[in-house]
């Protein structure tokens, strides 16, 4: 093989791999991208049932109710609009009423959001960034108060835990 032919083989193989990689990505981007929405976005976009999205907001106070077994129903709110959510499975350790949450799933035919994933927060003071941004956008962000509040009521919780 001449030098030129060798180079052609190399370029051919590299081109083929590049081409397939780009092709794979384009196809995958068509099907596998999940948009983040707040309840207001869902209403504004008229998100179709069955379309997979991430829904984020605050867990409305007093909305968490246990159905049979490990199924939980709660309401996600951005304080302007709400969306009911059902989820079967274990909730993350830091899932609380009044705190931020991100869920992934799709709206069912009855208008209830069926989540298959509820994202865990790793930290007591951490508000999912998407949720914070969505609240800011809608004008419901109260500065760093949620974090402060969380920090302040920690001792109370700690006592509660110890005396349990």
């Amino acid at each position: 093989m001449t030098r030129k032919q060798r180079r052609l083989v190399l370029i051919g193989v590299a081109g083929a791999i590049l081409f397939s990689a780009v092709g794979l990505m384009l196809v995958a981007f068509q099907d596998n991208i999940v948009f983040f929405n707040s309840p207001s976005d869902v209403i504004a976009n008229k998100t179709a049932p069955g379309k997979r999205i991430r829904l984020g907001g605050l867990v409305q106070d007093g909305s968490v109710e246990r159905l049979d077994g490990t199924t939980v129903r709660f309401v996600v709110t951005d304080t302007s609009n709400d969306l009911p959510v059902v989820y079967t499975g274990l909730l993350p350790d830091l899932f609380r009423e009044g705190q931020g949450v991100v869920t992934e799933g799709a709206i069912g035919a009855d208008g209830v959001f069926v989540a298959d994933t509820v994202l865990a927060k790793h930290d007591e003071t951490y508000m999912p960034r998407e949720v914070a941004d969505a609240l800011k956008k809608d004008g419901h962000w109260m500065g760093d108060e949620p974090q402060e509040a969380a920090a302040n009521d920690m001792p109370a919780k700690a006592n509660g835990a110890v005396t349990q």
Partner: protein, 659 residues
């Protein structure tokens, strides 16, 4: 006093780094021996001062000196000793000091073990290394000073995030950083070579042990992180394609490619320009990872704090070093003469294919990781690119690579014979096929692709064994001579075989657990029994348990199989006293390579508790495979060739240090 000493030591280290970044380089350009010889001494002094600063911070943690903001925010007097120490790097500021410490440590290693490098290359490399040190020290001192004080010291600290209070997380960051930062040496060597305008096979021989050592650390670091996420988070997953995980995986993919292309450069003096580019890219991806993780662009357990000035500063470092290095590359690369012709079917050709596929995989992961950030910056749309995207893109690129791996070592340099290689691999292919069919027969009705995946894993392992048996002619000569030959094979050959075998082991683990795991999520009351993949788990009851700084509610499960009791599981819900933060402690029982995995959810009233139970077949192979890969890397590092080095240009650095 102690924090101030630490702070002062960091400032001195910065001054030394600045001196080191100019004087040796200047000396190298002028040919001034005295100026060049400044480099090693200053590099060691710089390391000593950073080490001192790190020690002072550790002392502040050990003494629970809550007048130091960093200690107050991340420690607690009741915290066990181990987590007081690991708390030093369990936060943004401290982890950046650790980063700089490891950077200075590697600089010191070059200073000590680089005696046989050409003087100018050593001096230039040390200077380049000091540029990186200097900007990171500036970053620490300017935006992330861990030694700041509070006027009125609080009596008690706020405690380390409980999920970081774990042995896995105590060792994960240092290992990962040793990997990330270890690639800085390859980067510094590459930039120094570009400045000098001279790259040859000897250069590759010096760089390879450093790359190999960094690669071993990174592999181990990623594996530990993955196992930690698996048992600590309680979700049963071992890899989430989370942007933060990808941030560590990207340099691993590029570093693996670098490791292989450096072989071609060392043996055949070819692929020079590409290897230099890869060395630059690998460390650039490490920096990108640092940026993604530390800037607050991503929220996760790793993003300790999001202070915008930090993000901008790291982005600046990233742009400067990557942009600068790539500009230098564009300017100088043309002058590097390439040599070593080879046919497409040859060892070199196989290594090129490896590099093309690994960089393609790296590119795909990079795009998937950065696309949501770019889209949000450009359009404001928030999206997430999750596991389905990576499964659909990364896997198809890796499969051809995995199938090709056993062929590589069987091909000769310059011009290989694919047919002969295939013949030598006949036995391996046949056995792998048997494994595939057996898997299929055992799991009829299961996922169709899974037996193929298991077959590929077996192919990798058997291919690696074939390589050793072929090279030592184990089956075509008397056993004793065969064994003697096998023992006499170069360590690097054993290293290759072990690393490829480890890859196969990991592949089998991944495929098995993905395809055949059983998951049950149920609500259980004491006395109830749950069936998971043939194992009966009975919840006997609950009992409290007091830990040093937490309180557990332990669930007691008895495992029975076919009526016979074979063990117990004790998952727990844990609440840390200092923060009141609950965590989940999983109960895991390992049976051979498979695991039963139980985590407890929240109490559901009426005495019931949510239980998540898994049977994870062969799951431990995922991490065992990584360990085998690392053993392969270490064996290869101990190769005589890397210790003794090229006859012309003396010994290679850092082998002792890397072990």
């Amino acid at each position: 006093m102690i924090p101030e000493l630490g702070h002062y030591a960091l400032v001195l280290a910065l001054a030394l780094a600045l001196a080191q970044s100019v004087i040796p380089l200047w000396g190298a350009r002028r040919g001034d021996q005295a100026m060049m010889s400044v480099g090693p001494a200053v590099a060691l002094a710089q390391f000593a001062f950073v080490l001192f600063a790190f020690a002072m911070l550790t002392v502040a943690y050990l003494q629970s000196d809550f007048s130091v903001v960093n200690v107050w925010e991340n420690s607690h007097s009741a915290k066990p000793l181990l987590y007081k120490i690991s708390g030093v790097w369990g936060n943004h500021e401290g982890s950046m000091v650790l980063w700089v410490l490891i950077l200075a440590f590697f600089g010191g290693l070059v200073a000590v073990f680089g005696n046989n490098l050409p003087d100018t290359l050593k001096a230039t490399t040390l200077s380049v290394q000091a540029w990186i040190s200097a900007v990171f020290l500036l970053f620490v001192l300017g935006t992330s000073n861990p030694f700041l004080r509070i006027a009125n010291a609080p009596a008690e600290g706020r405690d380390l995030n409980p999920i970081l209070q774990d042995v896995g997380l105590a060792v994960h960051p240092p290992l990962l950083y040793a990997g990330y930062v270890g690639f800085s040496i390859a980067f510094s060597f590459a930039v120094a070579a570009l400045i000098e305008g001279r790259v040859d096979a000897a250069w590759a021989r010096w760089v390879r042990p450093w790359t190999l050592a960094a690669w071993c650390f990174l592999t181990l670091g990623i594996a530990v992180g993955s196992y930690w996420a698996y048992y600590e988070l309680g979700w049963g997953g071992w890899w989430f394609w989370d942007p933060v995980e990808n941030a560590s995986f990207l340099p691993w993919l590029a570093g693996t490619a670098l490791l292989h292309s450096a072989i071609v450069m060392e043996k055949r003096n070819a692929l020079k320009v590409w290897t230099i580019l890869l060395a630059i890219l690998t460390f650039s991806l490490s920096l990108l990872g640092t940026f993604l993780v530390r800037s607050g662009v991503l929220t996760s357990v790793h993003a300790f704090a999001s202070d915008p000035t930090r993000g901008v500063f790291i982005l600046l470092i990233l742009v400067l070093s990557v942009g600068g290095a790539l500009s230098l590359f564009a300017w100088r690369a043309g002058s590097l003469r390439s040599g070593g012709l080879f046919a497409p079917i040859s060892r070199e050709g196989a290594l090129v294919l490896n590099n093309l596929l690994l960089t393609a995989a790296c590119g795909v992961v990079l795009v998937g990781t950065l696309y949501p950030l770019a889209l949000e910056a450009l359009t404001g749309d928030k999206i997430s690119v999750g596991a389905p995207f990576f499964d659909a893109t990364f896997a198809p690129i890796m499969v051809p690579l995995l199938i090709a791996v056993p062929f590589g070592p069987m091909l000769a340099w310059k011009r290989g014979d694919l047919l002969a290689a295939a013949q030598r691999l006949m036995a391996a292919a046949g056995l792998a096929l048997v494994v595939l069919i057996a898997t299929y027969a055992l799991t009829v009705g299961g996922p169709v692709l899974a037996p193929i995946g298991i077959g590929i894993g077996a192919w990798l392992i058997l291919g690696a064994i074939s390589e050793v048996t072929f090279r030592s002619k184990l089956f075509s000569s008397p056993l004793s001579t065969g064994l003697r030959r096998a023992a006499g094979l170069p360590r690097s050959a054993w290293g290759t075989a072990l690393a490829h075998m480890g890859l196969g082991v990991t592949v089998i683990g991944i495929v098995a657990v993905t395809a055949y795991e059983t998951e049950k999520i149920v609500s259980m009351t004491p006395g109830k029994t749950l069936d998971v993949a043939g194992y009966e788990l009975t919840l006997e009851g609950f009992s409290p348990r007091q830990g040093p700084n937490y309180r557990d509610q332990v669930g007691h499960f008895t495992i029975r199989k076919g009526g016979a009791e074979i063990g117990t599981l004790t998952p727990a819900r844990r609440i840390y006293a200092a923060t009141g933060m609950p965590t989940t402690e999983t109960g895991i029982r390992t049976m051979w390579f498979s695991q039963l995995y139980v985590s407890l959810g929240e109490a559901q009233g009426d005495g019931a508790v949510a239980v998540r139970a898994y049977y994870k077949p062969l799951v431990t192979l995922i991490w065992l495979g990584a360990v085998v890969m690392v053993i392969g890397g270490v064996v290869s590092l101990s190769d005589r060739r890397l210790r003794v080095g090229a006859p012309r240009r003396a010994r290679a650095p850092a082998v002792q240090a890397a072990e």
